[in-house]
Amino acid sequence: METALERARATVLADLEREGFSVCPRLSPELTTSQVANRIGKMVDVSELLPGSGIPPVQTLIPRQVDEAGPNQYSGNYGLGAFPLHTDLAHWAIPPHYFILRCIVGSKNVLTNLLSRAEVLKRVGASTAGRAVFRIRKPRAGHCGLLRAMGHTDGAELFRWDPIFLLPFNVQAQQMASTIMNSDWHGMTHKILLQHPGDTIVIDNWRSLHGRANVTVDSMTRRIERAYLSEVWA
């Protein structure tokens, strides 16, 4: 089984460089998400970055109604409906570069949609995205709450977008938000089904947007685990 993980590791980096995501079906289901994440890359300890938040290093994602989750969570805004395309933790100064979604209890019809930022930039325009400035919905006192949609960090391009936690602050950001929210991305998204235990997606959070399809009644048992990574091992 270790060999299966080693084999997957070899393809993950190549997939990420080519597509911005990597799909690993039934990846060592006997291992925990934490074990898999640590062997794929370097995990981000959210509890260390946000002390007192109570957010564990591996988060469990389950379908919830709007009134079962807080307004700071997607379920608290969209409930069982489709989650719009976004990048995770876009309101952080530097969002985690990668994350993995790993199936614990699968479903037959809840798709994870992935969209390359390249498709977004084609429609929005690289110049507009490069000048788009967003404001964090709830900025922290003593810190700057303005963030650019496109930036450079350690030589890599960082793209961020979130329709809830980021608010447009200039004309370019308004244009970008309007284009993303009003466009039909249907034919451009990759649709991934996390159906079997161990099914895993590794996503480049700076290059790919993701969203969840709506949850049907027969998929209420769906359980996905998520872990953030700052880097993926070569």
């Binding site: 981000v44 970055l49 946000l50 933790l89 952080w92 100064a93 530097i94 969002p95 985690p96 570069h97 000048r131 400035v133 922290r140 003593g142 810190h143 700057c144 709450g145 303005l146 963030l147 650019r148 930036g151 960090t153 350690d154 602050f169 200039n170 004309v171 370019q172 953030y228 700052s230």
Partner: protein, 92 residues
């Protein structure tokens, strides 16, 4: 590069973001001779210069003559005095 939750107000990214907003305000003024164009232009230029300095180190923005606390703040440490207001170097 590890993830980071917050952005220091004197970080190059924060200052560059502000500069972009001010450039946008300048571009909204049709007449380049309008005083508002000059105002936004000068403000955005100042922020661009500050971003460039901060890109070397935010410490270069600290008004060290006004006390060590400004350098301490520029280094990313939380203020040690409640009523502390950070002072940066003057543009003029």
């Amino acid at each position: 590069m590890n993830a980071k939750v917050t952005q220091h107000p004197w970080s190059p990214d924060a200052l560059f973001s502000k500069a972009l907003v001010y450039v946008g305000e300048m571009e909204r003024v049709d007449d380049p001779g309008d005083w508002r164009s000059g105002l936004w232009s000068s403000l955005s230029l100042e922020l661009l210069l500050r971003a460039a300095l901060a890109n070397i180190s935010p410490v270069l923005l600290a008004n060290s003559k006004a006390g060590w606390r400004n350098t301490h703040y520029a280094l990313g440490h939380a203020p040690t005095r409640k009523e502390f207001i950070p002072k940066s170097v003057l543009a003029g």
